[in-house]
């Protein structure tokens, strides 16, 4: 590396402190006891599964230490996102339909980023996203095992995916304005990668709890070494 390029890179780092990026990590927990998951018993050879099995509703999936799974965490505004445009990556996440369930239950894409819907079952599913409000939802049948269809939504919102043939089939796709989003794992842990240092409005959105509301909004300062934040969602028994 010659001298001028070293100076150049130093200058770049100095001019753009936001190039130093670290992860915003943490945990989302659930306070209170939600109703037990509803169950759908399935006979053997249904939906391509040779064994009999039980499908459970995934509205509340609570893991270790009350960690809540499948919760969206994203940066709404702040230093590294305000006024910036984010080009959608070429990578396409997969929304699979396997044994009459969507996998995963929740996942995020950047606005304009494509994703692939796959049917891994030997039965017909219809993929219905017509409940979208800010995007044009689609409803199409996928009769063939192994069939793949690509989808893309240009406007940020949370979109419910359903199959009307199997009314329990439900998934949530979060379409985000910037690339700083994550969903919690089985124990409620999340990691929003490569967040430039600065102050942010962080939103935690759990579809079942927050519905048409925005979710929990919290101001978080992300330093050079990242940040760790915990959030608590309350289950209010009616």
């Amino acid at each position: 590396m010659n001298k001028s390029s070293t100076v150049l890179s130093l200058a770049l780092i100095a001019a753009a402190p936001s190039l130093i990026a670290a992860d915003l990590t943490g945990k989302v927990t659930l306070k209170g006891t939600p109703p037990a998951a509803a169950q759908q018993p399935m006979k053997e050879n249904m939906c391509g599964n040779p064994e009999a099995y039980v499908i459970k509703s995934r509205q509340f999936v609570v893991g270790k230490d009350s960690g809540l799974a499948g919760v969206f965490v994203y940066l709404k505004s702040g230093t590294g996102v305000d006024g910036k445009k984010f080009a959608p990556p070429a990578e396409k996440p997969l929304l699979d339909q396997i044994h009459c369930e969507y996998q995963p239950y929740t996942f995020g894409v950047l606005a304009g980023q494509g994703f692939t819907v796959k049917n891994s079952d030997p039965v017909l599913h219809n993929v219905n996203s017509t409940r979208a409000k800010k995007n044009t939802g689609k409803n199409f049948g996928m009769p063939t095992k192994g069939q793949m269809n690509d989808l893309m939504f240009p406007n940020p919102e949370f979109i419910q995916f359903r199959c009307d043939v199997h009314p329990w089939m439900l998934a949530w796709v979060g379409v985000f304005e910037n690339s700083f989003f994550a969903t919690t794992d089985a124990d409620g842990n999340f990691s929003v990668k490569n967040v430039p240092a600065g102050k942010y409005q962080v939103v935690v959105y759990h579809p079942k709890t927050h519905g048409v509301n925005e979710g929990i909004v919290k101001e978080v300062t992300v330093g050079d070494a990242g940040a760790k934040e915990s959030f608590e969602i309350e289950y209010k028994a009616p």
Binding site: P34, Q59, F60, V123, T130, P143, D164, T209, Y235, A237
Partner: protein, 338 residues
């Protein structure tokens, strides 16, 4: 002779409309059809769905043809003018119904499917009642009722009561249909209380809490405060209708001999309403089991139809009400003293 043929046609249509009524639980396809899914082999399912939708359309077309036959045979037979006109109304009604059904499918993409679905359902109810009224008016009995000598009672208040009550029932059916078409499941899960209260809390925090608790295998839409209020209105109207039909029944009982036509209609009407209220409660208690909900809708259609028949029978059988007038003219005074 023509009357007999028409009646035969009418019975056919009645049967078709009834089965159409049963079919009404399916046009929600593919949404509410999921209930009965399991009875069908999986690989046949796509054919099953197509079959239902297609057969509903075929039935609709068949009812359309029958209605056309009915309208034509009424037009060319020696029946009162009013029957001819009703035949025409039925014919245009069935055409409108077909168009509405098509709109429902077409506009579904644009988010108007539920609205057209409700109108489609409302017209179906009206059509069913209309066909039954025509059927009644083509019977021999109807002719006999026309004889002034057979006036069973001088009390004409039922002429006013019955139609008003029938209209209220129709409004109740529209509310019921719009609840069905929202696909929100039960907006209020308990009965006779509502979320444990006489009147539920509909603040946004409370509604968010209700939705949080709706953990279910069926991916229902979230409920809104408006849907909860609609459900409460449906319940209050149910109590009101039950009370008013009871009053109507009591009134008929007091002014008509047992076995008289209006007494029979009143008995049937009250029985249907009581069954209907029970079915409504059971719909909630069974968490909207598909068969109970469908029965609730069918008995609703029968209640409307009985109300309509009661009304036209009251018009036929009871004297025109003498509106109480202040005797201002000498003619009035003369009429009174005469």
């Amino acid at each position: 002779m023509a009357t007999a043929v028409s009646t035969l046609f009418l019975v056919c249509i009645g049967g078709m409309v009834t089965s159409k009524g049963v079919g009404m639980s399916v046009p929600d396809w593919p949404n509410s059809y999921g209930y009965n899914m399991f009875l069908l082999p999986w690989d046949k399912w796509s054919q099953g769905g197509v079959f239902w939708e297609h057969s509903h359309r075929l039935k609709g077309a068949f009812v359309g043809l029958l209605t056309m036959g009915l309208a034509i045979s009424l037009w060319f037979s020696r029946v009162p003018d009013v029957l001819r006109k009703l035949g025409l109304v039925a014919f245009f009604g069935v055409v409108l119904q077909g168009i509405l059904g098509g709109f429902r499918v077409v506009f579904d993409k644009h988010g108007w499917g539920a609205e057209f679905g409700v109108i489609h359902a409302a017209v179906a109810q009206l059509f069913f009642s209309l066909v039954c009224v025509i059927a009644l008016m083509t019977t021999r009995r109807w002719q006999l009722w026309g004889d002034a000598g057979s006036r069973p009672s001088k009390d004409s208040s039922l002429r006013r009561w019955a139609p008003v009550l029938t209209i209220v029932i129709f409004m109740q059916l529209i509310i019921g249909a719009s609840m069905r078409h929202q696909h929100a499941g039960l907006a209020i899960p308990d009965f006779p209380l509502a979320y444990g209260n006489i009147w539920p809390d509909t603040s946004s925090a409370a509604v968010a809490g209700y939705n949080q608790a709706r953990v279910s295998m069926i991916s229902y839409n979230d409920i809104t405060a408006g849907q909860i209020i609609l459900q409460m209105v449906h319940r209050l109207m149910a109590y009101t209708i039950a009370a008013l039909v009871t009053v109507c029944w009591w009134r008929t009982r007091k002014t008509h001999a047992s076995g008289s036509p209006l007494r029979r209609f009143a008995n049937t009407w009250l029985a249907l309403i009581l069954v209907q209220v029970t079915l409504g409660a059971v719909t909630i208690w069974t968490k909207k089991a598909a068969d109970v909900a469908t029965a609730h809708m069918a008995v609703g259609a029968l209640s409307l139809m009985t109300g309509a028949l009661f009304s036209v029978a009251a018009f036929r059988l009871l004297p025109v009400p003498q509106s109480p007038r202040i005797p201002s003219s000498s003619a009035d005074v003369a009429a009174r003293t005469a």
